[in-house]
């Protein structure tokens, strides 16, 4: 066998093995999360090493309990509200701002573009204590709308940066044609930029949604009242209050994970683009 053939065979074998190992390691936690959420406390305690999923024994009681006894119905609504409002505001402001930075000439434009990138590198842990102190003092820290503003500050620079990169790929002549044809800058954005940037906007929306939906630290620090909890905050609360009933924590985890993964699978193309374009913080 030639060296070429030999190496190719080795590579093929390594590849198949490697893929299997990777798939197992990546998928197992998600599988386990789901399987455990379908079990009763008894099963969890008696047979912790049971890897299989018995379809006849699927038990949705954990979901019932989490939703109706631990207030997760409320948390879901809160999370949806927070994420959707953040996405809408963030995408709108980033579109307008990203357009200004890309196409309009003004003093400090270069500085603006640079500082956007810098700001989005600022870590949350550095910001959370001073914000906590400030809003505790002002007395409205425990507020879901304040949380939205914080998320907006976290997502806007990235969103603006991503949209700026997208807008830069559009030929400026199309906008020039629009300006000559009688558009104002706002009608250029509305009639030309937005229709042409649909994929870019989708990436940004998805990415922003992901940040807001998954966010833990600020929700954990800012929210005190259970009625205001987001899902992430709720899961932490639940995990701290039940000791053995892991099926409840897993059911809650499935609830917080499922929407984002479904979204992601539906729009994978856009999200991957968003992740690589925005070089996500995380």
């Amino acid at each position: 066998m030639s060296r070429e053939r030999l190496e190719k065979t080795i590579i093929q074998i390594l590849r198949v093995m490697g893929l299997l190992v990777f798939i197992a390691i990546v998928a197992f936690p998600f599988y386990w999360m789901m399987v455990s959420s379908f079990r009763s406390l008894g099963e969890i305690l008696l047979k912790p090493a049971n890897l299989g999923l018995d379809i006849r024994k699927i038990n949705l009681h954990a979901y019932y309990e989490v939703l109706f006894q631990h207030g997760f119905l409320r948390y879901i609504c809160n999370s949806v509200y927070v994420s959707v409002v953040t996405v809408v505001l963030s995408v709108t402001l980033a579109t307008v701002g990203g357009y200004a930075v890309t196409r309009l000439r003004f003093r400090g434009r270069e500085f603006m573009s640079y500082s956007i990138l810098l700001i989005y590198m600022f870590p949350a842990i550095v910001l959370v204590i001073p914000l906590y102190v400030m809003f505790s003092r002002m007395g409205f820290r425990d507020s879901i709308n304040l949380l939205i503003l914080v998320y907006l500050a976290q997502t806007l620079p990235v969103a603006l940066y991503m949209l700026r990169s997208y807008f830069q790929t559009l030929p400026p002549e199309i906008e020039h044609a629009g300006l000559i044809d009688g558009c104002s800058r706002f009608s250029v954005i509305w009639r030309i930029i937005i229709p042409l940037s649909a994929p870019g906007l989708a990436s940004v929306a998805l990415y922003t949604f992901m940040i807001a939906w998954n966010e833990f630290l600020f929700a954990f620090m800012f929210l005190d009242t259970p009625e205001k909890f987001t899902l992430s905050r709720g899961v932490v609360q639940l995990a701290g209050s039940v000791h053995l009933s892991k099926q409840l924590v897993m059911a809650a985890s499935v609830m917080v994970t499922l929407p984002i993964l479904v979204f992601f699978l539906l729009f994978e193309r856009y999200l991957v683009r968003g992740l690589t374009a925005g070089a996500m913080k995380g």
């Binding site: 044609a177 300006l179 000559i180 042409l196």
Partner: protein, 365 residues
Amino acid sequence: MASLTLKAITKRFGQILALHGVDLHVDHGEFCVLVGPSGCGKSTLLNIIAGLIQQDEGSVLIDGQSVDRLAPRERDVAMVFQNYALYPHMTVAQNLGFGLRMRDVPKQIIREQVLETARILGIEDLLDRKPRGLSGGQRQRVAMGRALVRRPRLFLLDEPLSNLDARLRASVRLELRHLHREIQSTIVYVTHDQVEAMTLGDKVVVMRRGKVHQIGWPETIYAHPADTFVATFIGSPEMNLYRGRLLHKDDRTHFQGAGFSLDIGGLQLNLGESELEVGIRPEDIAIGHGGTPALKAKIEMISDIGSEKYIHARLGQESMTIRAPREAAFQPGQVVPLTVDPDRVHIFHEGRRISWPAGSCSSSK
């Protein structure tokens, strides 16, 4: 239809001086072509006229009125872009009607005008298609149509033919000429292609490095290039240009180049012995006897382009291109005598043309 006047337009991009005090006047209904190598500022100038770029100094006047403070949409101009810049998300009909729609023209009138324009350009059957599905030539037509439909005061065309293949370019050029005659509009047309400039323009503006080198009719520019840049830029194959000195011998003036001497007749110039340049167009050189003393060149290579032949020869230490009829039968290596009509010789001092009474237009023989 309108006239356009540019007064001392200057534009800098950072350190680079993109336009250097450009003055220009384009009359009602005139077809004005801005031509020059890439980076000469011609597109910048067009964008300034459209109001897409702001000049640093100077003023743009349409019909004698300054439009410097007006937004592009208020200037009532139309522009055709090199890459056409069609709205990709709109159909051809929507593309054509967009400018009218933005100006709140009633729907019925938009429909009529779009149809009318489409008919003129022969694109009625494309109206429901999206730009993505069109060929280059069709897109070019739609781009023209989008400009045409609004009947603006001024048409600005930025290299509209450069993305077409050569054959199509020639036919669209002709059509453009017809169209201009038909609608009698004022056009400013930017190109880097001297053939386009010469065939289309009523008036040609030759630019380089942000400066206007010459403005004139195509014939004038060809026959009386203002400087060595215009001389070599316009005309293909390029004009032969030689550096040397003038010598006066027995009432005649000779040009002493590197390894050759050229009789240019009874020219009297008070330049003394200073260095100057002499230009001869390839078609102004005849192979055969006639001149005294005979100029001799050694043929090095022959390019046969079918309709004629370009003969590349060595003259003294210089090289020379000669345009010869296709029947001409020469061989590389052959040494041939040359004849040059002294009236057709261009003389430049310090790069600028010296106007002496002769010239190919008023050739007096």
